[in-house]
Symmetry: C2
Amino acid sequence: MAEKGLDIETVQVDLAAGEQFGDAYRMINPDCVVPALQLDDGSCLSEVLAICHYLEALHPEPALLGNEDEECARILMWNTKVEQQGLWPMADAFRNTAKGFVDRATTGPVAYPQIPALAERGRKRVEQFFYRLDGRLAAVEYIAGDSYSLADISAMVVVDFADWIKMSLPEDAQHTRRWYESVSSRPSAAA
Amino acid sequence: MAEKGLDIETVQVDLAAGEQFGDAYRMINPDCVVPALQLDDGSCLSEVLAICHYLEALHPEPALLGNEDEECARILMWNTKVEQQGLWPMADAFRNTAKGFVDRATTGPVAYPQIPALAERGRKRVEQFFYRLDGRLAAVEYIAGDSYSLADISAMVVVDFADWIKMSLPEDAQHTRRWYESVSSRPSAAA
């Protein structure tokens, strides 16, 4: 939204207080995860990719999912890799150790206990992901190629949230560091 | 591909023999996962969503990602829910117990040991997913609404692969059963 300069009314859901499990939010998304986008007809879209895709269709510029089909496919490919190799392992590491997530180790309305071994594996995978990115970013400016895209936003979230599990970019991941310095200094990153 | 009647040359990768970890396949996808689509210029696309999006753009009919923006967003939303709540938990259950996956509990080139507690959690989540689908399919014919879509294909994969972890649709998930009977009898399901 910030990259596209969209001014959409936002309502914060108090996750720490469990507001996402309350009846009001369940009417918006019965899977109890944020974010959700309410459309003019009152219906709601959830899941980040779906919301981004919809906003891109309505407001194509600046493009965050590419300007043509092959570029869009490559961005979706990289965004999926970032989610699978970075975001979910980071969430595994966080949710399976954080004190506030005892018996809430997965998103959603069902209580599942934490699995410490999964948190440990998550940390290793996040580190591996930073080096995977480094190999990629040695060859290209942005993750999906020449242009800043949704894949960069997703990867920036991994780096920013890594702080929560007391991890940071490895000193020797120099290309990832160069990329992070660039993307995190965009005005939208402060939004 | 079968739904769209596309005749694209396919090459099987021998996963049981570890061909995905060999040098030849790493040139196609360094993350060592299938499938991948080779384009005319020799470059390769990986990740299912990216490949489906690309094929849909080239061959729009029959639409599996919707005919207009809001429909597409809803399909992507449901497809994400199916992946998060069904496919990944199913993969967790399978990869963290199967004898052939000792030290290959995640996809990709790095060896991670199996986590039995994660497999157990995966089984519970798959069962929960079948009931989640049942609630949805009590109200609509297909997962994303009135039309068959990528979300149905992804969910059909969960049901079909559940067999590998010796699970099946609960007897009382009648709407999911009605839906599965319908989607699995499409000619494309035999492909």
